[in-house]
């Protein structure tokens, strides 16, 4: 990799300049490392403290917490492709689905332990994304997006009907009492008259235990993504986003880099998919539908594409809307407005009703439009602006921010 970097430098003949800025660069690097450490610690604390932090928002139940982590991982992976290279894949849900199916098959055939399921899921998604990436990456821009979309829809339709023996079609792949579970059988785990539960060496993987498992994997996944962002490889990917033609002119074949990024991001999706199966052992075809692919694009853009933490926040916001906002009905609203006088409470209920319950898509749509129009860098740009407002040092941090991680997608 470093050889490649030298390749760019040498024809440009920038030797004296590099030496001059070396000290600045070193101090900058140390500063970045310190910031990254703080970021990692804060991120880990927030993720692990999720059940307490989210309690006031009514989101402190295991299933939603697990979902926050899982979709956080999915969005982080997607961001490695979209945020860094600018290649918009519209078919990432296919890898999520493959990861889920692979994990459930691992539960059915091998063991109820989560570790083989996760490994198997990630591997399958990696292979699948390598195959699709190899073909799709022959084109760029909108053609790449359409190709990935086509492949994902194809996978969805196959899973829905043709491949029913493998995917169990519309009903979804589920565990059955009669599954072989060869490793478990070999280990002498007894069969009961009820379905076995997924576990991590004996610890059940639903509820809060499942959440902590996902949370720790999310932290690891976030750390890997951080390292990729800071690595020469990440720099290469950014170069592709900035000007792929110029990269080609300097003699770099960009496709292997793109394919690697695509496979990594596909493996992240497979990881998310297999975790979905770990916390809830079922895999359905609709996980691969284009709406699911679109959702992760929304998450990334909502939070801030190309930023480290934005996609995780975007994933959280969308899952929060989907699970909490959609459950508000007229009675909940009425209770919420009960402190107001009777007439006003009724009025407020009538006004806000179309935006909650089955209307949650509407609220999300409005929010998304506002963000795209006023905060093109996503929620992260909003946070940055607020921070600048308070610190009163707008100019200084602006200069800083261009050096750190806030780089909105075009």
């Amino acid at each position: 990799m470093s050889q490649k970097l030298e390749k760019i430098k040498s024809p440009l003949d920038m030797e004296p300049l590099t030496i001059e800025v070396h000290d600045v660069e070193a101090s900058h690097r140390a500063k970045t490392a310190r910031n990254d450490l703080i970021l990692m610690v804060v991120f880990s604390a927030v993720v692990l403290g999720g059940p307490w932090i989210l309690a006031p928002f009514g989101a402190d139940y295991p299933d939603l917490l697990q979902r926050f982590c899982i979709f956080g991982i999915f969005a982080i992976g997607f961001n490695i492709m979209f945020g860094l290279t600018g290649y918009l894949s519209f078919g990432h849900a296919a890898f999520l689905g493959v990861g889920s199916y692979a994990a459930v098959w691992s539960f059915k055939l091998l063991t109820m332990n989560a570790v083989p399921a996760v490994i198997f899921g990630v591997l399958c998604a990696g292979l699948f994304s390598a195959a699709i990436g190899y073909i799709s990456l022959r084109r760029a821009g909108i053609y790449f997006s359409i190709l990935t979309l086509a492949f994902a829809q194809m996978s969805y339709n196959l899973a829905y009907s043709v491949l029913t023996p493998i995917t169990n079609g519309e009903t979804g792949l589920q565990l059955e009492l009669s599954d072989s579970r060869m490793l478990d059988a070999a280990m002498g785990i007894e069969r009961t008259s009820s379905l076995p539960v997924t576990n991590l060496f004996g610890m059940k993987m639903s509820g809060y235990e499942g959440f902590y498992f996902c949370a720790i994997i999310l932290i690891i996944a976030f750390y890997i993504s951080l390292r990729i962002f800071r690595s020469p490889f990440g720099m290469m990917l950014r170069g592709i986003k900035t000007n792929q033609n110029r990269m080609a002119y300097t003699g770099i074949n960009t496709r292997p880099y793109l394919l690697t990024a695509f496979v990594i991001s596909g493996m992240y999706a497979g990881l998310a998919g297999s975790l979905m199966a770990v916390t809830d052992p079922l895999a359905g075809a609709e996980r691969m539908q284009w709406t699911a692919s679109g959702e992760v694009v929304l998450m990334t853009i909502l939070g801030g594409a190309g930023t480290l933490i934005g996609p995780v926040i975007g994933a959280g916001v969308i899952k929060y809307f989907e699970n909490i906002f959609s459950a508000f009905n007229e009675d909940t609203l009425h209770a919420a407005y009960s402190f107001l006088p009777e007439g006003l409470a009724d009025f407020m209920t009538t006004i806000s009703h179309p935006f909650v319950g089955e209307g949650w898509h509407l609220t999300l749509g409005v929010l998304f439009m506002m963000i795209v129009i006023f905060l093109p860098g996503g929620l992260m740009e909003g946070a940055q602006r607020i921070a600048n407002l308070f610190s009163g040092a707008g100019k200084k941090s602006k200069a800083e921010s261009s050096a750190t991680d806030t780089q909105p997608a075009e």
């Binding site: 690097r29 140390a30 970045t32 490392a33 310190r34 990254d36 450490l37 990692m40 610690v41 880990s44 604390a45 692990l48 403290g49 059940p51 307490w52 009514g58 139940y61 295991p62 299933d63 939603l64 979902r67 339709n157 829905y160 009907s161 079609g169 519309e170 009903t171 979804g172 589920q174 565990l175 009492l177 008259s193 009820s194 379905l195 539960v197 639903s206 509820g207 809060y208 235990e209 902590y212 720790i216 932290i219 390292r227 800071r230 979905m276 809830d280 079922l282 359905g284 609709e286 996980r287 989907e322 699970n323 909490i324 959609s326 459950a327 009905n329 319950g357 089955e358 949650w360 898509h361």
Partner: protein
């Protein structure tokens, strides 16, 4: 590569931080999870929570909206509000209109989006956050089966709503799941004699089938029963779900030599395929010297309304219809009509009945514990719920009752009056041995 490109032992700091955070949080979550309940979500206060999980968006949103109306009505009746509806005609008199086991019934709602994942997420929210003791709903078999599996794992009762596939109480049956609605097997058994009387035994059928579990299940049952009559099957063509345009599938029917078209479609698919088949003039054709006929195995009033005039004279089966004249149906139609201004659909009926049956079983069991409720429901015989004498079969948790064979009405008097009941096929004729469809119930799960 060092952890943060820095000489200082960041790795150590990070590790300590992570382990510290995990250690600090660990004891709390065990406390949070711990409880003294005998079963999951045991109601402790003065109220008990039901979870109504219906499609509020997507292809079955109409059915979902009607189901939710029915559930709200059922809760009112259980709590003693309104006119009591079917509680007055229900053969079991355990419910007194003062809630269940002395507790007032409350409910939470969720949107399944007609997707298994979303439905399970929504059901999990109800169980984990809202403390629902029972989940009911589902307007498609895939969703119902997925949620039923979840309820089995979690340890709450699932009362299936509108789900017609054999698998719900067949291949994928679960001890904690119960279905009041009928299935494709019963549709085949009920429809066959009527088809024989109207179209004879020398017919050739052409199937158009929605390409998913329910469609195949329906196609299989109709084939099985019509071939027993002596009919032949020319072809069975699978169509993608939500195809919209069926013309390319309908054209080949004309040249296939078939004289009956069976549309194994539901919802908007059925509205579209039937409308197009009629527009293509299939019904005016003569094939093999016989009038061409169209059959729609599973009818619903909402679909018939959508297809308008095209349903006139077309046969199918349905679970329940508001024009039935037994006391139970009349009481339900009256109180539903009073509350919402129009008659209920079959989806509304089955959901309303399921809510009452569950409440009644809890009252009779004197407990909300899933295993106690299960014992109260298994083999339970009742009447006065609009379908005549009915039994919850213990072997597969499927209700057995009369099935209605209906026909699109030739001269509808109102926009709701689109189907007429041709025959009420008695329960004995649609009953099948419990082991016919395979699957295992497993044992009941109390959760916690």
């Amino acid at each position: 590569m060092s952890l943060f490109d820095d000489k200082f032992s960041r790795r150590g700091v990070l590790k300590t931080g992570l382990v510290g955070a995990a250690a600090a949080t660990a004891p709390f979550h065990f406390v949070r999870g711990a409880s003294a309940a005998d079963y999951l979500n045991m109601p402790k206060g003065k109220s008990v929570t039901f979870g109504f999980n219906v499609p509020q968006t997507g292809a079955y949103a109409d059915e979902g909206a009607d189901e939710l109306r029915a559930y709200k009505l059922a809760v009112q009746h259980i709590n003693g509000e309104g006119d009591g509806g079917m509680l007055n005609t229900f053969s079991s008199k355990a419910l007194k209109g003062d809630g269940v086991n002395g507790k007032k019934v409350e409910f939470v709602t969720g949107d399944t989006q007609t997707k298994s994942d979303a439905a399970r997420a929504s059901a999990k929210r109800m169980i984990e956050k809202d403390g629902a003791i029972m989940i009911t709903g589902g307007s498609s078999s895939g969703v119902a089966i997925a949620v039923q599996g979840l309820c089995q794992e979690a340890g709450v009762i699932f009362m299936a709503g509108l789900t017609h596939s054999n698998d719900t109480t067949g291949k994928d049956k679960k001890a904690n799941g119960f279905r009041h609605f009928f299935n494709t097997e019963m549709t085949g058994a009920a429809l066959a004699p009527v088809l024989k009387n109207n179209f004879g035994t020398d017919r050739t059928a052409y199937h158009l089938t929605a390409d998913y579990t329910w469609g195949w299940s329906q196609e299989g049952s109709i084939k099985k029963y019509t071939e027993k009559l002596g009919w032949k099957t020319a072809a069975a063509v699978r169509t993608p779900l939500g195809a919209g345009d069926f013309s390319q599938y309908i054209t080949p029917v004309l040249n296939s030599g078939a004289d009956v078209l069976v549309l194994n479609h539901y919802g908007k698919d059925m509205v579209n395929s039937l409308t197009q088949a009629v527009q293509f003039g299939l019904r005016d054709k003569q094939v093999n010297g016989k009038d061409f006929a169209i059959v729609v195995p599973l009818y619903s009033r909402l679909m018939a309304q959508g297809a308008g005039k095209n349903v006139q004279g077309i046969y199918g089966s349905t679970g329940w219809h508001w024009s039935l004249t037994d006391e139970g149906s009349k009481a339900f139609v009256k109180s539903f009509g009073k509350a919402y201004g129009f008659p209920p659909s079959q989806a509304a009926h089955t959901c309303y009945v399921q809510a009452l049956l569950y409440a009644d079983a809890c009252q009779r069991a004197g407990s909300f514990a899933p295993c106690d409720v299960l014992k109260a429901l298994e083999g339970f015989k009742f009447d006065g719920m609009g379908n005549g004498p009915t039994e919850y079969r213990a072997e597969d948790h499927q209700c057995f009752k009369d099935v209605l064979v209906v026909k699109g009405k030739e001269n509808p008097t109102s926009k709701f009056d689109v189907l007429e009941v041709v025959e009420v096929t008695p329960r004995a004729q649609v009953e099948y041995p419990a082991d016919l469809l395979g699957g295992e119930l497993g044992s009941c799960n109390n959760g916690a």
